[in-house]
Symmetry: C2
Subunit: 351 residues, 2 copies
């Protein structure tokens, strides 16, 4: 068995995330190994591998990464999970299994597509647990990108360069298609605390249905210039002001969308912003409840719902700070939705 760090896949409910190490110069006396590396990277780097929907997130590339003795740049690609059957077909047509028999995978799709991968592409899937991969990926990235990976919002962006050890115990709020809350006590000690089905998938679908947007990026664009106050019933709408006895300020949302009697009273932008606000606030409220229960002051929000989503990040930052009187803080990470994919690549080396 070779020990090349190759490829890690994370097949989620909406997106497939792929991480791979583009090795600079494979200095090996074994010509077979060099050919293997070249073949795999040629396949992975070829846009046609993902049909027409692959996105190369070049802005996330990390240079000079070392993994298992090999140096290269760590790169990231994503494509819609609905194109998995096409991806499998291409793997089969291009005989991917002749150079890589086993792919390291996490996410639900590792189970869902197991048989198709074997039967159509002759590849076997080595499955890694979703949360184990997420945490391993996060820990690894924090080592290779220590200064810039994690940040918080304190009016503006502030990076934080302390190590993972400083973070324990912490919560991960993974906001992908759905939402999971994970309590991380140490690298190998973690538990799923709770979750909600109101996540990124809900945002995209409801926005598509209500505004005619096509997908997450368009929905986000609409939300950017909308005003959720035009659709939400605020505490002040019910109370005429603050609800002082329970310290509920007047501008807190009492009921999402309850102000909107029909579509003519709000723009598409207001509706998109209202959905984003509804989902972010609900997640924030659950996160905070868990943080108090588990006595964690550090709350890391990640997952692709937060990709280019400053509205949600600002709301979550404000909520953690305000409702905990500054005790708890929301953190975010540059590589957001890729920790599972990175983790399954890292975990492939431990087998």
């Amino acid at each position: 068995m070779h020990n090349l760090p190759l490829v890690g896949l994370d097949i989620g409910g909406t997106l497939v995330k792929l991480a791979y190490l583009d090795i600079y110069n494979l200095d090996s006396s074994d010509p077979k190994l060099v050919k293997l590396s070249n073949d795999i990277h040629h396949f992975v780097k070829n846009p046609r591998t993902y049909g027409k929907t692959g996105v190369f997130d070049n802005y996330l590339t990390i240079e000079n990464v070392e993994l298992n003795g090999y140096k290269g740049s760590l790169k990231f690609i994503r494509f819609p999970s609905s194109d998995m059957p096409l991806f499998i077909k291409i793997c089969g047509q291009r005989h991917f299994s002749t150079f890589l028999e086993t792919i390291h995978v996490t996410g639900g799709g590792a189970f869902k597509y197991n048989n198709e991968m074997e039967q159509i592409a002759s590849c076997s899937l080595s499955k890694h647990d979703e949360f184990k991969s997420l945490i391993s990926g996060l820990e690894y990235i924090k080592i290779v990108n220590p200064l810039n990976e994690m940040y918080y919002l304190n009016k503006s962006y502030e990076s934080c360069n302390w190590s993972m050890e400083d973070l324990y115990p912490y919560l991960i709020i993974n906001i992908g298609t759905g939402v999971s809350v994970i309590h991380v006590i140490s690298r190998n000690q973690f538990e799923r605390v709770t979750g909600t089905s109101i996540g990124g998938g809900t945002f995209t679908s409801l926005c598509n249905l209500l505004t005619g947007s096509k997908g997450f990026d368009q929905a986000m664009q609409l939300a950017e210039t909308g005003e959720s106050q035009n659709v939400d019933l605020l505490v002040s709408d019910i109370y005429g002001g603050n609800y002082d006895l329970f310290n509920l300020p007047g501008d807190v949302v009492a009921s999402s969308f309850a102000k909107l009697k029909d579509k003519s009273h709000a723009s598409k932008n207001d509706i998109a912003n209202g959905l984003l606000t509804m989902i972010a606030n609900n997640i924030g409220s659950i996160a905070l409840m868990c943080a108090f229960t588990k006595q964690c002051n550090n709350i890391l929000f990640c997952g692709n719902f937060l990709r280019e989503n400053n509205i949600a990040k600002e709301k979550l930052s404000y909520a953690m700070d305000y409702w905990s009187k500054g005790e708890k803080r929301a953190y975010f990470a540059q590589h957001n939705g890729y920790f599972g994919a990175i983790g399954s690549m890292v975990l492939s080396l431990t087998q």
Copy 2:
């Protein structure tokens, strides 16, 4: 000051709830008191008092109730909060303040409509805290309706006739326009734990926007014959089956509405049922988290979202039981959304 139990109002974000004691025979040597009682009840019982939108919930009437030495039937009326200005105008026109200067009120509207009530109707509002009223109303109703008030669903309806003392400590999940979670340690010891803005108001508005329904009752009707599986992405849609490591069965919703690409793939009924499922599941998840944190096994769900809403009640019952392995149980109450109004009437006697 007389000590007649008169009227209690609860002015919420969507509905105004009114409770009053219809005294059988006011046996009093004081003719003024008899006239007062008659005038008030004549006003309260007159449908025109509420414009065209008052609903007399006669099926909830409790006979032979005794309150402060007076016997009568306890009756319940509701009308939309949007008709409060009309109600205030009618109070003014019919000189309500000449027989009742002070009305005992709870809910946000007690603050919002305070000035209008004073200026237009010459009535002052005696304000009672929302949660204090809710708990007082619940405790009182449990005394006058001990056998049938509370019930749980165990495949079918089962009433439970134990006293409130058996319930402590418990959680109240009040699902009105928005949602509040209250931890009740004893009659006078309680705290608001958390809440979510995704409540009954959200259900009605989003259903109106997505299906063209007009209001809660129509939205509920649509939901009754819909299938949320047609809009929701289930764990099995992502995993191809169960997610065994974290005991997530395949039929658990991973992401609400994430299966729905456009409206043509689901009926209006499916969409309404999907919204109901989304909101009930999210509330159930929050309730359970709080129940574990506060170590409560008894969880009382109330509020007008649950009125004639067996779908939500069944989902909540199942969720509490399943995820706690039978340790925690969901309870419901016949007078659901009226506890605040009852409580403000009861509290009027203590002043």
